[in-house]
C-alpha cells in the first residue's frame, strides 16, 4: 500500500498549480478555490475524491491520513466562509470516531470484517460511488433536445368539431340533491356563526402549540366543524403568523408541516459537532 505523504499531495489545483499547503502568505484567488471545493456533491464525494486521487484501495482506507486530509479541506472551506453543509461536519466526526476505534486493540477474530470500524463507511462510499457512476451513465444516454430532436409536420387548419359534454338527468338530480344538502348545512351554520370567531380560535391554537414542542399543522383542524370551521382555523393561523406568535416549519418539500409557538433561540447543534471534529485533529 502506498503510504500517502501529505506533502506530495496537492489538496487543490488552482489554475493548474498544485496547492499543497493552506494558503497563508501565498495569495490564491478565493473564488478559484471556492469553485474547486464547491464541485463536490457532499462529504462522500469529497472522500471518494481523496481516495481515488491517491489510487487507494477503497476496502482498506488509511483512515488516519484520509481524516487529516478531509479535515484540512473542511478548514479551508470554513476559512473561505463557504456555506458548509452540516453533513460535512458530521462526516468529520464519524471519521474521527473510526480513527479512534482503529487505535483500540481489535477483537481476536482479526479477519472478521464485521468488526472493522470502517465497514459502514466503506459500504456508504461504495453505494454512493455506484450511483455517482449511474448518474454519469444516465447523463451520457442520448437524449431529446441534446442528441436528438423531435420532428413535426405542420397540420393544416381543420374545421374541428368541438364535441360538447354529455349530461345525464341523473347527474343533474344528484347535483341538485348535493346543493340542497349543502344549503341545509349553510342554514345550520348561520345559527352557530358566533362561536366560530377568529379571535377565539387564535386563542385556542395558541394554547395547543407551545414553544417547546411542535404541533402538526393538520391536527389543528377539526373536520367535524365543517368547511367554515376549517376556514376559521386557517384564518386564525394566518393571523397568528402575521402577529408572529407562531411559526410554521416544514423540513422539506413534501414533509409534514409543523406549527409551534415562538420563543427563544434554538440550540446550535452544528456548533457541538464542529467542536468534536476539530478537537480530534
Amino acid at each position: 500500500m502506498t503510504s500517502p505523504a501529505q506533502s506530495e499531495m496537492p489538496f487543490a489545483i488552482v489554475e493548474g498549480e498544485p496547492v499543497t499547503q493552506l494558503p497563508q502568505d501565498l495569495y490564491i484567488p478565493p473564488h478559484a478555490l471556492k469553485v474547486f471545493l464547491e464541485a463536490f456533491e457532499g462529504p462522500l464525494d469529497l472522500l471518494l475524491y481523496l481516495i481515488r486521487r491517491q489510487n487507494l484501495d477503497i476496502l482498506d482506507i488509511p483512515i488516519a491520513d484520509i481524516t487529516l486530509q478531509y479535515v484540512q479541506y473542511i478548514e479551508v472551506m470554513q476559512e473561505l466562509q463557504l456555506e458548509l453543509a452540516g453533513e460535512y461536519l458530521l462526516m468529520a466526526a464519524m471519521l474521527a470516531e473510526i480513527k479512534s476505534r482503529m487505535l483500540l486493540p481489535r477483537p481476536v477474530s482479526e479477519d472478521d470484517d464485521e468488526t472493522d470500524p470502517r465497514a459502514e463507511l466503506v459500504r456508504r462510499l461504495q453505494e454512493y460511488e455506484r450511483y455517482k457512476k449511474a448518474a454519469e451513465d444516465l447523463d451520457e444516454l442520448p437524449r431529446q433536445e441534446r442528441d436528438t430532436f423531435d420532428v413535426d409536420a405542420h397540420m393544416p387548419e381543420q374545421r374541428t368539431v368541438t364535441r360538447l359534454p354529455d349530461v345525464t338527468l341523473q347527474e343533474l338530480l344528484v347535483a341538485f340533491k348535493d346543493v340542497m344538502a349543502r344549503a341545509q348545512m349553510f342554514a345550520n351554520f348561520h345559527l352557530q356563526r358566533e362561536p366560530l370567531s377568529v379571535r377565539q380560535r387564535m386563542g385556542d391554537i395558541l394554547t395547543r402549540v407551545n414553544a417547546d414542542s411542535f404541533a402538526e399543522f393538520s391536527e389543528l383542524f377539526d373536520p367535524q366543524e365543517g368547511r367554515m370551521g376549517v376556514a376559521v382555523t386557517f384564518i386564525a393561523i394566518l393571523e397568528l403568523l402575521k402577529e408572529q406568535l407562531i411559526e410554521v416549519v416544514q423540513s422539506g418539500g413534501f414533509a409534514p408541516i409543523h406549527v409551534r409557538g415562538v420563543s427563544g433561540d434554538d440550540a446550535d447543534a452544528e456548533q457541538t459537532i464542529s467542536e468534536i471534529a476539530l478537537e480530534d485533529d
Partner: protein
C-alpha cells in the same frame, strides 16, 4: 464558393446530383426539426454551420428542395412554401384522414355547472343572485354563458328588485335533450333514493355517435387472439 458557380472556372467543384441528394436529406431533417418555416437564407446559414460543411449555394438548396418535393409525391406530407419560408405540412387529403388524431374526448362539466343547471331547472325562474345564495359561492359568468350557448336556458324576465336581475328558466331544447315532455317529468328528489329503478325508468340518453365503426371494431377483435400475445411482448 458562393452563389452561382461560374461555368468558366473548372476548379470550382460543382455539386453533383449525388451531393444534392445528400443535401436533400439534410434539408428534410432541418425542416422537420425546425419549429418554424425556414427561408432559403436560413437554410443556407444552417447548412454552412455544419461541422464539416461542404460548400453550399442557394441554387444547390433549390435543387435539394426540388428533390424533396418530388419525393413527397407519394407521401402524406408535402413541402410547402409559405411567406416565411419552407415547411413540411400534412396534405389536405391526409389531414381529413387524421380526424381521429385530434378528436378530443368531450370535456366534462364542472360540479358548479351541474348545480347551477339543476337549480335553474328545479327552481325556475331564478336569478343568479338566488343561485349564489343557495350554493354559497359565486356563479361564474362562463357557466351561465355556456348554458345560454347550448340554448338550455334563457332569460325569462327580470326580478323586480334593485338592479333588475335577469331570471333564468330552461328551454324546449333542454327538455328535448333529456327526452322530457314537460318539466313535470323531471325526477323528484325522492326518486333518487332508488338509483337502480331510476336508471331503468329514465331511459337515459345514449351517446349517439354515428361514426362508430362496428364492422371495423369487430374485425379488430377478431384478430385480437393472435394480436394480443404480440402486443403484450411489445409494450
Amino acid at each position: 464558393m458562393s452563389d452561382e458557380p461560374t461555368d468558366a472556372k473548372n476548379e470550382v467543384v460543382e455539386a453533383t446530383s449525388q451531393d444534392h441528394a445528400q443535401l436533400a436529406i439534410f434539408v428534410e431533417a432541418a425542416l422537420l426539426a425546425a419549429a418554424e418555416p425556414l427561408s432559403i437564407d436560413q437554410l443556407l446559414k444552417v447548412a454552412l454551420a455544419r461541422p464539416q460543411a461542404a460548400p453550399v449555394t442557394k441554387s444547390d438548396l433549390r435543387e435539394a428542395l426540388k428533390i424533396i418535393t418530388d419525393d413527397c409525391e407519394h407521401r402524406g406530407v408535402e413541402l410547402l412554401e409559405v411567406a416565411s419560408g419552407f415547411r413540411f405540412q400534412v396534405t389536405q387529403d391526409m389531414a381529413r384522414q387524421l380526424v381521429g388524431l385530434f378528436e378530443e374526448r368531450p370535456p366534462r362539466y364542472s360540479r358548479a355547472f351541474f348545480e347551477t343547471l339543476a337549480l335553474i331547472a328545479y327552481r325556475q325562474p331564478i336569478t343568479r343572485g338566488e343561485i349564489e345564495d343557495v350554493r354559497g359561492v359565486a356563479v361564474s359568468s362562463n357557466i351561465v354563458r355556456s348554458m345560454l350557448e347550448r340554448e338550455w336556458i334563457r332569460v325569462v324576465g327580470h326580478r323586480d328588485v334593485p338592479g333588475k336581475p335577469a331570471m333564468f328558466g330552461t328551454t324546449k331544447a333542454f327538455l328535448d335533450y333529456f327526452n322530457l315532455k314537460t318539466l313535470d317529468d323531471l325526477p323528484s328528489l325522492a326518486e333518487l333514493t332508488d338509483m337502480e329503478s331510476l336508471r331503468i325508468q329514465l331511459d337515459l340518453p345514449q351517446v349517439e355517435d354515428g361514426s362508430s365503426n362496428p364492422p371495423a371494431i369487430a374485425g379488430g377483435s377478431d384478430d385480437s387472439m393472435s394480436d394480443d400475445s404480440d402486443s403484450d411482448a411489445a409494450s
